[in-house]
């Protein structure tokens, strides 16, 4: 899923009514958001966190210092580990690690649903989708 489509989906999910327009920068098509009252914002997780604030749902970024740091850690994980790898072995490692991390948890921060869960879900969707298909085949 292209980053712009993902952000549009997130906007809907957050209940933001007016859709933003995103441009893409560089070879990796990093999303850019031109905000009305400030400089543009670049990067998927940066824009996502901005949208969460726009929707006044700051709790999705974590409530305590620990939660906030954990959320950002997994957002970074999403753009560096999940997006950064395309080779099968590496993706397997990512899935294995996540599985063992989540063994005793409901969500990435423990018991609270956050932006990290949303973006990681979007990011993993493509792998899990294809692995289902290949199993069906």
């Amino acid at each position: 899923m292209a980053a712009a489509a993902e952000l549009t989906l997130l906007e809907k999910c957050l209940g933001l009514s007016k859709g933003n327009k995103y441009s893409a920068q560089g070879e990796r098509q990093i999303p850019v958001l031109q905000t009305n009252n400030g400089p543009s914002l670049t990067g998927l997780t940066t824009i996502a966190a901005h949208l969460v604030q726009q929707a006044s749902k700051e709790y999705l970024l974590g409530s305590t210092a620990e939660e906030k740091a954990v959320v950002q850690q997994w957002l970074e994980y999403r753009v560096t580990q999940v997006d950064g790898h395309s080779n099968k072995d590496e993706i397997c490692t990512v899935l294995k690690d996540l599985n063992s991390y989540l063994e005793d948890k409901v969500y990435l921060t423990g018991y609270n649903f956050t932006l990290a869960d949303i973006l990681l879900y979007y990011g993993l969707h493509r792998f899990i989708e294809t692995s289902h298909q290949s199993r069906d085949n």
């Binding site: 070879e27 400030g38 914002l41 670049t42 998927l44 940066t46 620990e66 740091a69 950002q72």
Partner: protein, 900 residues
């Protein structure tokens, strides 16, 4: 909570520097662990630093740990910090790990280390200077500063990798490095060993291979949006209204072009192409085409401009080629000089002179400079041991000798390098040497040679550089290369050769010798000018009045920026020295390099057979000009840029503007009554035009091309919003509005045609013909946007400017130039590679085999999972097979057939 760090793990730096923030908020224990220790139970790979929280959870991301410390101190998150941290993780880290790996693990230096991070460092520098804040996210030091400082510290603590051109980055880095928590973190992690302290850690990391592909990018740096003041708008409108009157008279074309006292005199050279090679697209964009854009721009500014180039004809390579083709060296030069001249003519290169180095003037000037150097004691004599073939009665240049490699025993090693092991060889060390021509055994004879005493010239050179460099437009890579040469110390350089094809050495005892090409090739610029006008010294001995711009690819920097200036300074004859040395990076072809021997890539003479017009080639090559970083020619990208930028953006706009004048106003430019929107547009266009000038004055050719496309994008939007095709059918007011919009649009088209002239001269002339642009406006570009097509001006016949490139057309061209070696089955390819795999390729494969071997050994030692070992072994076997093929020997039988 407990922080696990590891000595020499780069992530420990920012974490330790930020740890102080948490003081008094929570108890923090710090433990040191080995880099291989798996602290985090759920992660497969070892990761340090790690923070174990009191809840039992782990933070394993360096930024997240730092963020946590900052959050504990009461700091609040913000968009800008998030953006910096995301950029650090996704852009900076991959670049930095590549640079550090090259530096620390592979022991590389200079450009190899710097080039992966150049773009990222420039980005930080620009951001700091643009916001004019001392810190990344504001007036005070914060999370983003600590995280980026920690990431950059290992590399930038060596001043060689912190160029002074990046002033804002420089002072930001110094400020942070001098703070106590940062200093302490640096001492703990690097233990005063500098970057080498990271070695044990980095050696265990996989080689950052994925970075290679990413370094090559054709995308522009970010664009900025401008805000306009009322004053700027008023000035733009005033300039517009003056129109053609504000144009100065056109200077008549002089012949010959000579500098004029009190005016701006621009002397432009493009690196002299070596005569016996057909230039490829990389050569063309690297020098001749880049210099051509600047020369054309310079003429549009009405500066006295002389642009010269020529073929570099002397040397061993010409002799070899002559022998191969059974011609004399002179005949070879005559033949190839014409090929070069034809190619550049086809590309529409506007040389004032395209000469050659084999002329009497070359001999005269070279010998004169040499004599002056001798007279001033800057030439040394020394004995050099060299191979001499008694049968052929001559000393053998390195590439004329073959023998057994002293390192690996390969039987057909060349005198300069072994094709098998890739090592550089000193020809006299070859075992069983043979003369390549007669196959007899040469003998070692000593031969007297002359050396240019560079160490003695070091002082005047440095004085000159100190005077020249600040404020000049030398490209960063050129500065970097010169700096590293000076740092490594200058050594005497041999300037003579035992050859026949060259400039004779006018010294008793040296009658059989000629000057080494690199000594006299750069003098070619002078002699070529001397063949153009007998007043050549007005250009070349006139440093006060002449600005010398020299264009080249970066491998030529030492000769132009250091060696030739030394000769010229030593000659003490008031020579004009390079004021602006403009060096490009390399252009790759698709995913690899251009290769004549493998037929990969497009060469100058083939471009014309593609059916794609020269201007489209020029546009695309300039669009991807390797300015600041390597870039790659890609057929798909060329199709995309042609169809989107030229056809849909630029061509579409200019064509519509002209068509509206023809269709709605009978070919006459309508009255324009400017509204405040139009005034803003005028100011926007003016601003972009000024940006274009600023960029081209700094020779940022690729960036300036973006300004043209931006203006035409503004133009398209303007037409789209104002819909003149609807308004023309409306009320009187609507029709007037349609007129204004059409008039303004067609004037923007006229402006674009002039701005486009340096890049696409033929297209530019076509537009000017279609619009019947008055002649003075065609040859002068001012810094203001003028109304050059006033109401009532009659335009000519408008027709489309560009053609769509189709997928199948491009696909067949891609096939044609792919060299056919890529997708063919490995067997026939083996024969191919056997004769063509270069020493570098073989070296790369050998390195990979060694590396993969280590991986396998390590896995076995760790008793790793069997499947994993098997997979790595399979990779190793495959690499070995490739290596064997590349070396031209069958696997089963290593001493099999020899190549012919």
């Amino acid at each position: 909570m407990r922080l696990f760090v590891s000595e020499g793990a780069p992530g420990s730096l920012p974490v330790l520097a930020a740890a102080g923030r948490a003081q008094g908020r929570a108890e923090l224990l710090i433990s040191t662990v080995g880099p291989e220790e798996c602290v985090v139970p759920f992660l497969t790979r070892p990761k340090v630093p790690v923070l174990q929280l009191d809840s039992g959870n782990y933070l394993f991301s360096t930024s997240a740990i730092c963020r946590y410390f900052f959050l504990l101190s009461g700091w609040e998150q913000d968009d800008l910090t998030n953006q910096w941290l995301e950029w650090e993780a996704t852009e900076l880290q991959p670049a930095l790990s590549a640079a550090l790996y090259y530096l620390v693990v592979q022991g590389k230096k200079g450009e190899d280390v710097f080039s992966p991070v150049r773009r990222a460092l420039t980005h930080i520098d620009h951001s700091l200077s643009r916001r004019s804040c001392p810190f990344l996210a504001g007036e005070t030091e914060s999370l983003a500063d600590i995280v980026l400082w920690g990431a950059l510290y290992p590399l930038l603590q060596d001043p060689a990798y912190l160029p002074e051109e990046l002033g804002a980055l420089h002072s930001w880095f110094q400020t942070l490095s001098s703070q106590e928590p940062c200093q302490r973190a640096a001492e703990t992690v690097l233990k005063q060993q500098g970057v080498l302290a990271l070695r044990p850690y980095l050696q265990k990391q996989p080689q950052p291979s994925s970075f290679e592909g990413r370094a090559v990018s054709n995308e522009p740096e970010e664009e900025e949006l401008a805000t306009l003041s009322e004053e700027e708008i008023a000035m733009a409108v005033a300039a517009w209204e003056k129109g053609l009157e504000s144009l100065p008279p056109v200077q008549p074309q002089q012949n010959p072009v000579l500098p004029v006292a009190g005016e701006r005199n621009v002397l432009i050279t493009s690196a002299l192409p070596y005569v016996n090679n057909v230039p490829h697209l990389g050569n063309i964009i690297g020098c001749v085409l880049s210099a051509d854009v600047f020369a054309r721009y310079s003429r549009l500014r009405q500066w006295n401009t002389l642009y010269l180039c020529g073929t570099d004809e002397y040397g061993t390579a010409t002799e070899t080629k002559a022998m191969e083709e059974g011609l004399t060296p002179q005949e070879i030069c005559d033949k190839y000089h014409v090929i070069h001249a034809d190619i550049y003519r086809w590309f529409n290169i506007s040389f004032d002179i395209f000469g050659r180095t084999t002329t009497p003037q070359q001999t005269k000037i070279t010998q004169d400079i040499f004599q002056r150097l001798v007279a001033r004691g800057f030439v040394l004599q020394d004995t050099v041991e060299q191979l001499r073939c008694e049968h052929c009665a001559r000393f053998l240049a390195d590439r004329f000798v073959e023998g057994v490699c002293p390192f690996c025993g390969y039987e057909e090693a060349r005198g300069d390098q072994c094709d098998k092991c890739g090592k550089l060889i000193n020809a006299i060390e070859l075992k069983k040497p043979q003369c390549k021509v007669c196959r007899s055994c040469p003998v070692v004879k000593s031969s007297q040679h002359l050396f240019l005493d560079l160490p003695k010239l070091g002082k005047p050179l440095e004085e000159w550089l100190e005077k020249t460099l600040p404020g000049s437009d030398w490209t960063p890579n050129a500065r970097f290369i010169i700096r590293s040469w000076l740092r490594d110390g200058l050594k005497p350089r041999c300037i003579t050769r035992d050859l026949k094809w060259g400039t004779p050495v006018p010294l008793v005892g040296f009658e059989d010798k000629v000057f080494y090409v690199w000594f006299d090739a750069t003098i070619g610029y002078l002699s070529i000018t001397a063949n153009y006008t007998d007043q050549w010294e007005k250009w070349w001995k006139n440093p006060e009045q002449v600005s010398l711009y020299q264009f080249m690819a970066k491998d030529n920097v030492p000769f132009h920026g250091l060696v030739f200036p030394c000769s010229a300074l030593g000659a003490e004859d008031n020579y004009t020295l390079v004021s602006h040395l403009i060096a490009t990076e390399y252009l790759n072809y698709e995913d690899g390099k251009f290769s004549k021997s493998r037929g990969v890539g497009v060469f100058g003479d083939m471009a014309q057979d593609t059916g794609i017009p020269a201007d489209i080639w020029r546009f695309y090559l300039l669009y991807i000009r390797p300015e600041g970083q390597d870039s790659a020619f890609s057929w798909t990208d060329m199709l995309l840029k042609n169809n989107s930028e030229l056809l849909n953006n630029l061509g579409n706009f200019i064509n519509r503007a002209g068509m509206f004048v023809s269709k709605f106003f009978g070919g006459f430019v309508p009255e324009m009554v400017l509204t405040s929107d139009d005034r803003r547009l005028l100011a926007h266009v003016t601003l972009e035009l000024q940006h274009y000038h600023q960029l081209l004055e700094k020779v940022r050719i690729r960036d300036a091309l973006r300004s043209i496309l931006t203006i035409s994008r503004h133009g398209n939007q303007y037409i789209q919003v104002n819909e003149p095709w609807k308004r023309i059918k409306g009320s009187e007011a609507d029709r007037q509005r349609a007129g204004t919009v059409t008039g303004l649009a067609v004037n923007i088209a006229a402006l674009l045609s002039i701005m486009l002239q340096p890049y696409m001269p033929t297209v530019s002339a076509t537009i000017q013909d279609q619009l019947q642009l008055p002649p003075p406006a065609c040859s002068i570009l001012l810094t203001n946007f003028l109304c050059t097509l006033p109401a009532g001006h009659q335009i000519g016949t408008v027709s489309p400017l560009f053609q769509k490139l189709e997928n199948d057309q491009i696909e067949s061209l891609r096939q044609r130039f792919s060299g056919g070696q890529a997708k063919a089955s490995p067997k026939p390819a083996a024969i191919e590679t056997m004769t063509t795999a270069g020493p570098q390729q073989i070296q790369v494969l050998m390195d990979e085999v060694t590396k993969q071997g280590n991986i396998v050994r390590e896995l076995k030692a760790q008793k790793a999972d069997k499947n994993q070992v098997a997979a790595e072994v399979a990779k190793l076997l495959d690499l070995k097979k490739q290596l064997a093929l590349a070396e031209g020997k069958p696997l089963e039988n290593p001493k099999g057939k020899k190549k012919k």
